[in-house]
């Protein structure tokens, strides 16, 4: 999807003002996800699980070159083909070439944020290939030509009524159809798509280096079908998605499901090693794994941001975030939204492209407490803010205000004078007219400052 992050302020305001149903739907869904996550964490020793997972990913990221080579060798030994893509364009070219080689007319897809990131669907469609998103939420959004708004529940911003309208219009369902009827209608369309597809395309939650296993988590069975029925399976996997060993996978499958939806494990997990080889296996004849960089090595090279590469895309930080809950994901303007988007997007796209996301947070810290791999999101937000300040990417008013504060704070007589003016002015309505404060004070009562400055009180001996 195209990057619209710079419109964050306008789009978040519009979402809250013009589409109150989004806020209702998103808040309802995320509060429910968050409660399930808390309950599921409570059933295990979540603190040690999270520390363990953090440790595994840190080990992985500090040995990533070795594990990438091992994963490649294992996949090839299993009969799979491995491809490397530096950026979105290379990833698209690899998939398009595979589609052309197999004369693919029709493709079924499992939900994949990476394929959103590299804008794969438009490229396939331009090549005349029919693309079916098969996750129910993604299918709804494909009919609406909307991007996903949440990593795990792509259509949580849609209400039942909106889906009823859409399906009545496009699939001729009853306008008052219940979720069961609507799901059945989508299933019928997609069942034919599965059986007739020439190629299945998925992402990958994990890639186990030791065995060359692409692991995929889901609840509907659409990814199992996507990786099983078509003759060719292509998995796009970010290079940070590796895990060293099979025993690590056992922990990550459980922790990710608990963090994402509060389940002990996804209803379906697909472990893909390579093409079908045993007699009786009706699986794909070819399996291709595309290892995608697309900014990840930039993040890995960054002094602080590299820790965001531990992310397992569970969405727990979105669900618990008081800011995300107000607007949903679209306001953030790119694939990865919410707290993790605000620290990952500046690394993947460059800080300039991702402004003002590091500022779209109240720094309450709930995201860190929810994160299954303990990404220090609040600290990373602060370090991106600092970098933005240093690079002159913050608004001129703010920079001017901070420069003014710095001047005053290093000159005691100036500071004293300014503080005295502040205490008097703050008590009047004139404060509302100050250009720096109007955005903040328009919607709030400005607290009345003390009539005396701190220094005056100090001299008098404060009690």
């Amino acid at each position: 999807m195209s990057v619209r992050i710079s419109e964050y302020a306008t789009r978040s305001r519009e979402a809250i003002r013009d589409r109150p149903e989004v806020r209702t739907a998103v808040t309802g869904a995320t509060v429910a996800f968050d409660e399930k996550r808390r309950r599921a964490y409570g059933e295990v020793d979540a603190d040690s699980w999270r520390r363990w997972a953090e440790g595994v990913k840190n080990h992985l990221l500090t040995h990533l070159d070795d594990y990438l080579a091992e994963a490649e060798a294992q996949l090839e030994a299993n009969g799979a083909d491995v491809h490397w893509a530096r950026d979105a364009d290379e990833a698209r070219q690899i998939v398009l070439a595979l589609a052309a080689r197999h004369s693919a007319r029709s493709v079924v897809k499992g939900k994949s944020m990476l394929t959103e990131e590299v804008e794969l669907n438009p490229a396939l469609e331009r090549a005349g290939i029919e693309v079916y998103e098969t996750d129910l939420g993604e299918y709804i959004l494909q009919l609406l030509d909307e991007p996903p708004s949440h990593i795990v529940g792509p259509a949580i911003h849609k209400t039942l009524e909106q889906v009823q309208h859409l399906f009545a219009d496009r699939l001729e369902t009853d306008p008052g159809g219940d979720p069961d009827e609507l799901a059945r209608a989508a299933r019928d369309v997609l069942r034919d798509a599965f059986i007739n597809a020439d190629m299945g395309i998925t992402g990958g939650n994990f890639l186990v280096a030791e065995t060359g296993t692409v692991a995929l988590i889901e609840n509907e069975g659409n990814i199992r079908l996507t990786t099983s029925l078509p003759r060719v399976h292509v998995a796009l996997v970010g290079i940070e998605k590796l895990l060293p060993r099979m025993s690590d996978l056992a922990g990550f499958l459980q922790l990710t499901a608990r963090a994402a939806t509060g389940q002990p494990i996804g209803c379906f997990v697909s472990l893909v090693q390579g093409p079908a080889s045993a007699p009786g296996d009706d699986g794909p004849e070819e399996v291709h794994v595309v290892l995608v960089d697309n900014g990840r090595t930039d993040v890995l090279l960054h002094e602080h941001a590299w820790e965001a590469l531990r992310c397992v895309r569970c969405g727990a930080c979105l669900n618990t975030c008081p800011v995300y809950r107000q607007t949903g994901g679209h306001a953030y303007g790119w694939v990865y939204s919410g707290p993790i988007g605000s620290v990952l997007d500046p690394g993947l796209l460059g800080l300039h492209e991702a402004m003002p996301l590091p500022f779209a947070s109240s720094l309450c810290g709930a995201c860190f407490d929810a994160c299954p791999v303990r990404i220090p999101i609040p600290e990373l937000l602060l370090s991106w803010r600092e970098e933005a300040q240093q690079k002159g990417l913050t608004p001129w008013k703010e920079r001017a205000a901070l420069a003014g504060l710095a001047t005053a704070a290093t000159r005691p007589p100036l500071y004293r004078a300014a503080a005295r003016i502040g205490t008097r002015l703050g008590a009047t309505r004139a404060a509302r007219k100050l250009p720096m404060l109007s955005d903040w004070s328009n919607d709030r009562d400005l607290p009345r400052p003390s009539p005396h400055t701190f220094r005056q009180l100090w001299r008098q001996g404060i009690k």
Binding site: V44, H63, S270
Partner: protein, 251 residues
């Protein structure tokens, strides 16, 4: 297609303009600037509520699997598995018009073909004429008018029958190898899975480590029926995969 054939293709290394070397070089540069951090070892998953008398893996499996909307059936020990399964399927109701059977399900675990008497003692483990048609399921006749028959294409079957490699107690999961027929595991609305006796692992890690030695091309972990809450946050079952997932624990 064999592994060596795929590797012989010139594009198999998928190395557009040296992408592989460039990516690996950047990764190496990044890891060189940072200390190598050690692996933390094994994750200790939680102990049983009462360590003195931990529940048997099978008990935990039943609890976890059913809490995820899976169903568990126990065969009648006084009947042969075939006889029991045949009556069980007949008891499922009218929607069961045809059965698809995974390629690795042994004859003794398959239901009787409709023309066979269900209570014939001689069929248990024996070679009856209908058995050779089980594999691969897609090779069978289409849309037979028979109320119950073997070897229909899975997309036309009301019931799929599979054999699990094993089950996992802590997650309530069935482990289904691709040496069975994947379409049988996924397409019919009702999925019945045999779990061989003694194959319920307490922990997922133990199961995956044993599986690692004989890892097939594909593995599915099924922990209950297909579910989605994508429409109005209401849970519906049977969205793409089976709407009923019935584990049969062999004793």
């Amino acid at each position: 297609m064999s592994g060596s054939a795929t590797r012989d293709r010139p594009e198999s290394r998928g190395d557009l303009g040296g992408a592989r070397a460039r990516i690996l070089a950047r990764v190496t540069r990044a890891t060189a600037t940072r200390g190598k951090l050690p692996h933390p070892g094994r994750l200790e998953t939680p102990p049983a509520p009462d360590p003195a008398t931990p529940p048997a893996p099978t008990t935990t499996f039943v609890k976890r699997f059913t809490s995820q909307c899976g169903e568990v059936a126990t065969p009648d020990p006084d009947r042969s598995p075939r006889d029991w399964l045949t009556s069980f399927i007949n008891g499922l109701g009218d929607e069961v018009n045809a059965i698809a059977i995974g390629a690795d399900v042994p004859a003794r675990l398959q239901p009787h073909p409709p023309d066979m008497p269900p209570a014939d003692a001689g069929t248990a483990g024996g070679e009856s004429p209908g058995q050779s048609r089980h594999a691969p399921a897609v090779a069978g006749p289409r849309n037979s008018p028979q109320p119950l028959h073997h070897a229909v294409p899975p997309e036309h079957a009301g019931v799929g029958i599979s054999l699990a490699w094993g089950a996992v107690a802590e997650t309530g999961s069935l482990i289904l190898p691709s040496t069975g027929t994947r379409a049988v595991q996924l397409l019919p609305p009702v999925h019945i899975i045999w779990v061989p006796a003694g194959r319920v692992f307490a922990r997922l890690e133990d199961a995956l480590l044993e599986l690692r030695a004989e890892l097939p091309a594909g593995v599915g972990l099924h922990s209950g029926p297909s579910k989605s809450a994508d429409i109005g946050q209401t849970v519906v079952t049977g969205v793409h995969g089976p709407g009923r997932c019935i584990a049969v624990l062999e004793s």
